[in-house]
Amino acid sequence: MANKTIVLIEDFTDAPGGRFREDGDFSGEQFRDDELLPALKEGTVTVDLNGALGLPASFLDESFGAVARKHSKLVERLTIVLDDNEIAQKHLSEMIPRATLSWQTPPTSAGKT
């Protein structure tokens, strides 16, 4: 299975928008349908959310939460890396508990986080 890394601020935007495409550019729906789902269908995906100006809850819910609701089996292929936004970490822990979340995974013995 292929392993793909998506860095939000490089591959998508550093200023995520709202929920749906009709609400504006760089929405959660756009990220889910154009970036996340195609990659998840190919294999495992690591999404790095660090560095964004902010991560609105509606963006996270429509991009990740919707995947957990509609494609629950694909969520197990997902790894989220996020170190600089505690509120977004809390939201994601509630939305996609079955995904691998970097802040919940203990560091390996080699010191890799």
């Binding site: 995520p16 709202g18 929920r19 504006g24 100006l53 609105p56 809850a57 509606s58 939460g65 509120i87």
Partner: protein, 359 residues
């Protein structure tokens, strides 16, 4: 009396019907007379209140003198915290007057204004925009504030762009630097990023909270505030300023939608007459606890708590939400003030004020 012959029973029935119809006609005429008298009385009252409108005639022929309703309604202080009811009443009257004037002329008299807050200025801008949008034939004249401070504030936020013949050059307004208001539709995170760049350097977490709060506000406006089937008018307005002397900064966001209590009153228990919470109670619960959404989905309802998170980290911060008839003021140290008023504000105003740099 009916003189038809025939069976006695038929005679009695016909007589009864005849009497009933006469009585009905009499009461119907009496009702009509009563309604006419009532109309005449109310016209007389209106004529005594405002004789000019009757001399000028109906719609499209309004006089150019100051309309007493708007003139008298403008309070000296336009502030949603100090005088919420009077301030909301002024904007409500402004809208009603514009609707009545139709294709004529209307004067907005701000001469008596001694104090105006940026939030009230933003609502004033929005109301003028709305009047320009829906009443294109209506000519709006503005009598400028006599006091220099409100005049300077209105100039700096960009209010005079909506007034013909008034200089749009920025005035000096003490230590306050304003980010001129923006108007938009849908979610415009570029406008939010521009506002964040205008402000003094915030901590990373404060920047994230502010970005998320404003984007959530725009998302709520886009998705819930306006009727989605009528996509033409669904604006929001955004304004910010910083005070270089007191280190205060504030941002205001306003939309003219249905209002928060209206859109989140979806739970059955909140609609029941006996247990019906007030609008301010609903707003308070939705902000503090979350999970209140028009869609009733379990995964939703995170937008309103995001509004408050920005002031939670601040040393001294305040969040004001004024929606329809309801107001809630949240302070960072947990104090909350709320109220429901008789006059409604047509829309939702959200205002954040920080009195020290959020760290």
């Amino acid at each position: 009396m009916c003189k038809l012959g025939g069976h006695p029973f038929a005679r009695v029935t016909l007589n009864t019907l005849w009497t009933m119809s006469v009585r009905w006609r009499q009461s119907h005429n009496a009702n009509r007379l009563r309604i006419q008298k009532r109309r005449l009385r109310s016209l007389e009252k209106a004529r005594k209140r405002n004789p000019l409108s009757f001399i000028a005639g109906a719609k499209g022929n309004a006089p150019t003198e100051l309309r007493p309703e708007v003139d008298n309604a403008c309070p000296e202080i336009l502030d949603f915290v100090k005088c919420p009811q009077d301030t909301a009443k002024f904007f409500s009257l402004l809208r009603k007057r514009a609707h009545k004037c139709g294709a004529g002329e209307m004067v907005v008299n701000l001469r008596n204004v001694n104090e105006v807050t940026p939030a009230a200025a933003l609502v004033l801008i929005a109301e003028l925009c709305r009047i320009n949008f829906f009443h294109r034939k209506l000519k709006v004249k503005v009598a400028l504030p006599a006091a220099p401070e409100p005049h300077a504030l209105l100039s700096n936020v960009g209010f005079y762009e909506y007034c013909d013949g008034v200089s749009t050059e920025k005035s000096v307004s003490g230590s306050r630097i304003f980010w001129k208001h923006r108007r938009g539709v849908d979610v415009r995170q570029d406008a939010v990023a521009e506002l964040i760049n205008f402000l003094p350097k915030l901590s990373k977490s404060a920047t994230q909270r502010l970005f998320e709060a404003l984007v959530e506000g725009m998302q709520n406006t886009s998705e819930h505030a306006y009727n989605r089937s009528k996509r033409s008018y669904r604006f929001w307005w955004l304004l910010g300023y910083q005070d270089t002397k007191t280190k205060e900064m504030a941002f205001c966001f306003f939309d003219q939608g249905a209002g928060i209590p209206q859109t989140i009153r979806t739970r059955f228990k909140d609609k029941l007459f006996l247990f019906r919470p007030t609008g301010s109670e609903l707003i308070h619960t939705a902000v503090m606890e979350g999970r209140y959404s028009r869609t009733k989905e379990k995964s939703r309802g995170r937008g309103l708590p995001a509004l408050k998170r920005f002031i939670d980290d601040a040393i001294e911060g305040e969040l004001l939400i004024f929606s329809r008839e309801s107001q809630c003021v949240f302070r960072d140290h947990g104090q909350i003030k709320s109220g429901d008023y008789d006059t409604k504000l047509h829309g939702t105003l959200i205002s954040w004020t920080l009195r020290a740099n959020g760290q």
